[in-house]
Symmetry: C3
Subunit: 424 residues, 3 copies
């Protein structure tokens, strides 16, 4: 690593970042046991992929047994970047010194994790050490937001269920209980979504969010068709594929319109196919497809010029489109490196291309997507190092930026852009 | 940068290049004012993408006002490679020394640009300093080519209107005025295209050229269907999508056949979708889609083995196909790095892959695609540096080429291949 | 090259590798003449692509004449990595010292190749020098395996003809002659495939293998539909596209089921389109398409959890999907870098991404795909150097692996994984 890169990385590690997407549970944000770390789907799914039976981490089993299964096998995935997250978290947050985790030393780590987990507000210590100022949550639409520690957490309205599961009576029931609106018409749906967004905004929410399959097309909605589909749903009838699509497209549009009304960004996470591998471990059953095109979203970007769409794509085949759409559409803002694209090889390529062609004020550098706050540190550090590398090698060494400008650019990506775009 | 790379880049900067694709207007090739530089669509569209209203650069406004809007906002895109083109042009061609352009110093640059622009044949000085021997133009089919400075400019027959706008009476009228052929039949179309190509060749044209949407399929034409579509057009009737396609496919094939007859290459620029964002600034409304496949062109390459097709693709998702088609089809020649792919991250990857697997005599390294000659220097320099980097790191350092062979290879890409292929 | 990289490459060059896919003919594995090297389709197709008429290497011509055509033109492709394979083989295996091959020195090389080729078991010397312990063959289903030198070669049942050419009476005849089973029903097909697999396994086969077009979908078979299609075939009738698909999908599934029964992996090589350029040289007529998705294989991976599918994709557009499918599906194992993806630019990117996200025990690093054993050395050496580079730059220098762990990882990819997965 060049001296320049070393200096830049050090500066970037010092930037207090905003993490605009995570799955941290507000009621239990930090790890209470080693299984809270080893149970992260990356480790269980990779261990399963390398040969561990899915049953080995059946939640019905005891913690120690599950941990035992994992640590005897984790060497099979010690090459992965995910493993390096685990080891960096163990080292930096739990003072775990061994170079590898295994059957002979896991109890040492488990003891420290358990002990640390008992500290009140341990998560604040962790986030502080991780140099993360705020972490967005991803809340169920009917979640009670009143107890959230808003000093560090920012709620976010997850809308997947509304868009794709409205035919499920339980979803409608939860919606009615939360909002007081029994959905009988498309207007009711508008009212309910408005109610939710108001509630979320009142509790400090930064945005709505949704994950979408690669073949979803958010066209201009046909409200009459959506109304008919809704009427069939209310009669307990099955929807045809076309009817289900009409309803989903309408509901999606209602959410976008509500984002416009409340001046909140809409986080679009595009490209996931759910339950492709049902025999996998929990959290390790979804995959991506390279099919589809961001062109499907052009109409949405045109219809809602006032809404900031912060966009992540799951397939690297979509990455070039994302950067070009962000280059042209003012309201399309590339956001982080999601899940299967959250790998150094892909981040480095995508990050360089975005930095070379998208205005720097539009780029949301990174988010953790984590389930426990302990992973914020290693995931963000991975990104911070790659950002330092790209800025050093492609921008400062080529004379396109000074070192100070590179640091300023990093500050935009990690902190100032998410603060401004999400108004936190 | 290693000593080797420094030496190679210096050698490559010294190669007098051929620029086989630009939009330089023969009648006004160089900038007369700073707005001729800042008005380049890259800057207006990126500034708009970063938040500037499109109206800020409405041509109805005065020059100073438009420039003012741009320079107050241009810092938002100072990270982009396009910004670096602007600053390199300002520095190298107008002796502008500040590191950034802004509200406080733009008048200094504007004065020099305006002053320089008054020099007769300023464009020749610029091209000479840019180390560009010849620059191809992209001429409307009915353009008067007689006044072109053929010492430095090479005409090129742009055929987009013929293929995709023949149903427009104005296009047919312009065609009749230029060629004397009133299009009444498919044979007339052949005659008109032949007339045009002869005219262009007589005026030194290097090729025909066209930009194509990603879903265009240049199949073997159905002349009867095209004739019927043409007959409907002549009666003022709307064409169905199938009829429009039949006519476009036929006209495209006529142009390819005429290229064969006149032994001229056909520049195919594949992948653009027009007017995806109509609310954007002029020149900043088109985008790409990753959909489609170069396989659609296999039949064309088979039907016209005598025609050199110099091919650019707009989507990086097509880049691997392009290199493999060029590896197999003798008449498929990869050409430059077009528009949304003209970014260092993409050029470096694509260039390395082409150099590693396509015979060096087939590669057209780069073209500027510029609208004013001032951008030839920074765009080509960007490419020259990347070419030096790739040759140094992947070919000389790995022992696959000597330093002299690397320079010879660069000379093929920048100069000798376009000279030979376009016979200039 | 850093000292670290130099040391790593040296260690990796010392690993005795398994080559799990080649087209080496067991009866004539090493080159007997220079044309056996220059006639490799990479050289003839690239020379043709660069302008050599296909007739120049018509097998009807004499060897010297064909070689003459090649060597006068080979400079046109001296930039390619394929050329570097030729020169490294010439240097390392035939002590050929000139830096370039050409009309003035080819006879020197030709003499050494011819002389060396006369040595009995020359191929063993070549493989030993190449540090290859075993090389898989790709055998026709009716090949006589009895004479194969199983000390170094491993048979592999190529199933392309069975899946895609069963309507050809000659294929069915060959099948009947080999297995004694006249195909009259789908059950007969099962019997015949089982007979073949047993025969192959008895002769030490490591796997079945097939190459597939990008639009093939290995869905759950419809045996009734396949039976009807087979009945039509047996009556000498043409199959519709749907019928042909039903038969192919069924036969493919029978082979997968037979792999399960015999506990053998199934090598899937996905993405080739045959005879896209019929006017090309032999072996240089096939291409790829970026279209399609590995999602088409999800059902197969689910149906046969017991079968290891070692998967290669031809299009780089599929590479991200491959790594993610391997990350989730235990039985999907990425294998090597195939044909048009076997280029350093692509290998380096794909290899890094696989190593960063797929458990190391699942990765089959490389195979040669060669037709003569002489190409094993340069092809594997290209890979060994890239592996050293990626491990040095991305794993050891970033602190994610020690140097010893990097070498251990390389040993898995080159040797231990293929040994374990193919049980050789």
């Amino acid at each position: 690593m060049s001296d320049l890169e070393t200096r830049l990385v050090a500066e970037i590690l010092g930037i207090r970042a905003i993490d605009c997407h995570s799955h941290v549970p507000a009621e239990s944000p930090h790890a209470l046991s080693l299984l809270d770390l080893l149970g992260y789907h990356y480790y269980t799914e990779l261990a399963h992929s390398a040969g561990m039976p899915a049953e080995a981490v059946d939640p019905a089993k005891g913690e120690a047994e599950q941990i035992g299964e994992m640590v005897t096998r984790i060497e099979t995935l010690s090459n992965t970047v995910q493993y390096s997250w685990l080891m960096e978290a163990a080292r930096e947050l739990f003072a775990f010194r061994p170079e590898r985790l295994g059957p002979k030393n896991w109890q040492q780590l488990a003891a420290v994790v358990a002990e640390s987990g008992k500290q009140p507000n341990r998560y604040r210590v962790v986030l502080d050490k991780s140099n993360l100022e705020k972490v967005f949550l991803t809340n169920r639409f009917d979640e009670d937001l009143s107890g959230i520690d808003r000093e560090v957490f920012v709620p976010c309205l997850r809308t997947d269920d509304l868009v794709f599961q409205l035919a499920d009576p339980d979803v409608r029931h939860r919606l009615a209980v939360k909002t007081g609106v029994e959905i009988g018409s498309t207007d009711d749906l508008r009212d309910a979504v408005r109610w939710l967004m108001r509630y979320f905004v009142q509790h400090g929410a930064g945005s709505a969010a949704i994950s979408l399959p690669p073949d979803f097309v958010p066209s201009a909605p046909d409200e009459a068709a959506a109304g008919k589909a809704l009427a069939r749903v209310l009669k307990g009838k099955e929807l045809s594929a076309d009817e289900a699509t009409a309803l989903a497209v309408f509901t999606f549009d209602v959410i976008a319109a509500t984002c416009k009304q409340f001046r909140k960004p809409f986080q679009l996470m595009i490209g996931v196919l759910r339950n492709v591998y049902p025999a996998g471990v929990a959290g390790g059953r979804d995959l991506l497809s390279k099919q589809g095109s961001l062109m499907a979203y052009a109409g949405l970007f045109r219809r809602y010029p006032e809404v900031d769409f912060t966009v992540s794509v799951l397939s690297m085949a979509w990455e070039h489109e994302l950067a070009t759409f962000a280059w042209i559409f003012p309201n399309c803002k590339p956001s982080g490196h999601w899940w299967y694209a959250n790998i150094p090889a892909h981040i480095e390529y995508a990050l360089r291309a975005r930095l070379e062609a998208v205005p720097k004020v539009k780029l949301i550098g990174y988010y953790s997507d984590m389930y426990k706050v302990e992973f914020g540190l290693p995931k963000f550090n991975m990104y911070r190092r790659l950002l330092g590398r790209v800025l050093a090698r492609e921008f400062v060494e080529t004379g396109r930026m000074t070192e100070a400008q590179a640091v300023d650019t990093a500050r935009l990506l990690l902190r100032e852009n998410p603060k401004r775009i999400f108004n936190v």
